[in-house]
């Protein structure tokens, strides 16, 4: 099973109701978003004028780079499918569910380091500074869950329910009889990053010129290499609480008196 979402751009009117419903449902702070709608165009595509929207959200990728970036200690987690069969695997604080294919976060174990948010080429994750606990005083990573708590209760995702034109269609891509699978057959495509192969499961369908415009404007850049600067940033961010403590204890000032700013003493000494 692989949950997926189709966004039918022939129906989308760019009203932002999906983004608002999501914020309301999951208490997403105003400045962040688990999903978003960007206006694209009007722009010339070939000989035509195109104008459409990019309603974006987590792609619950086949190979999610955000999951690999999580530095939290792994734990064994058991997943159960509808038939009662279980799969146990070792997961960090974020993982791809082997049963339903969604990418989820365990907020209680999230360190708030933001490495996953940095790794996502779509910008579909953010760190919510309002969510703090003993594990992280810097907040917790947050993202679209495909509304799993709602889906498990027999509902559809909040953005899907609220969409006034039924432009958002949710379902199991692995089920050939599903509406989403039918859209894939008709040519719905995901926004694969340049040169990437991560398999986004939120897909777009629409007029050729609109899809061309969407892919021109919104294809993410190649997946960022976790360069050494980023790696240091990640390590430093992980030990923030320890360093805060060190500073309180005056441990960060001691080594500092030796190198000083400004070329002053050097010549006077001689």
């Amino acid at each position: 099973m692989q949950y997926g979402m189709i966004i039918d751009l022939e129906r989308c009117v760019g009203c932002h109701a999906c983004a608002i419903a999501c914020k309301a449902e999951w208490e997403v702070p105003a400045e962040f978003g688990r999903n978003w709608v960007h206006r694209l165009g009007p722009s010339k595509v070939g000989k035509e004028l195109a104008s459409t929207y990019y309603p974006g959200l987590c792609n619950h990728c086949a190979k999610p780079p955000c999951v690999d970036a999580c530095p939290a200690d792994p734990v064994e987690m058991t997943f159960k499918d509808a038939a009662g069969k279980t799969i146990t695997k070792s997961v960090a604080a974020t993982w791809k569910d082997p049963v339903n294919g969604t990418v989820q976060i365990d907020k209680s174990r999230c360190l708030g380091c933001g490495a996953c948010a940095e790794a996502c080429p779509y910008g579909a994750r953010y760190v919510n500074p309002a969510l703090v606990d003993d594990v992280s005083s810097d907040g917790k990573a947050d993202k679209c869950t495909y509304c799993m708590p709602r889906v498990e209760a027999g509902l559809v995702p909040a953005c899907v329910q609220t969409c006034i034109t039924n432009a958002r269609i949710f379902g199991d891509l692995d089920d050939p009889k599903s509406d989403v699978a039918a859209y894939v057959k008709k040519g719905a495509k995901g926004l694969e990053p340049k040169g990437g192969n991560i398999g986004p499961n939120s897909r777009y369908y629409g007029k050729k010129k609109d899809i061309t415009l969407l892919f021109q404007e919104s294809t993410p850049a190649a997946i960022a290499d976790l360069g050494s600067i980023k790696r240091r940033a990640m390590m430093a961010s992980m030990v923030k609480p320890a360093m805060r403590k060190a500073r309180d204890l005056g441990l960060l000032g001691l080594a500092g008196a030796i190198l000083v700013k400004g070329l002053t003493d050097e010549k006077n000494d001689k």
């Binding site: 290499d225 240091r232 390590m235 360093m243 001691l254 000083v260």
Partner: protein, 196 residues
Amino acid sequence: MSESTTSQDIASLYRFLAQCMQYPDKEWMNEEFFQVLYNLLGTFSAITEGKEIKAALEQSPDYIEDLQIEYTRLFINGVPHVVAPPYASVYMDQSIQGAFALKTLNFYREKGFTMEGTADLPDHLVHELEFLSLLTEEEDLVGEEEFLSKLFRPWYKQFCPRVAKETRHPYYRMVVTIIDSFTKEEEEDGFQLNEA
């Protein structure tokens, strides 16, 4: 809670690591210092190593003296020879205060820093970490990267395994390893202290 920037977080860690490599003194190397260190090791999935250090401290009647002896043997004046002098020049010029030390000092000056009279040689590990801390505090991440690749990593990657292999105290093995992980370049890579 005031928000610190990423550069400030990096600067703090450099500063702390510089402190860790100072001559042991009970003024700062106290119970609270070790709590911070254990906490840091825990965050880097090195709980076992933290416990190892703790055990080493607990079984000693005077852990400060132990660490002072080990510090001296490793870095200052060992018999028959110092295990791993913490100066870049020793590795790059095969001498103390060679051309590499001067290059290092010139880099400090280029960035507007100078050494206090009481300082050790410019290419001493503690000063280099301190300098990295000051650079990142000023958000000069390009300078940081340049200093690391040209003046720090070339000698540190020779220094680190020597200490790790020869030390008789888990404290120094862990501290040099953390510095190593933190300053590594991509091609060397390896984020985790414990390569699983």
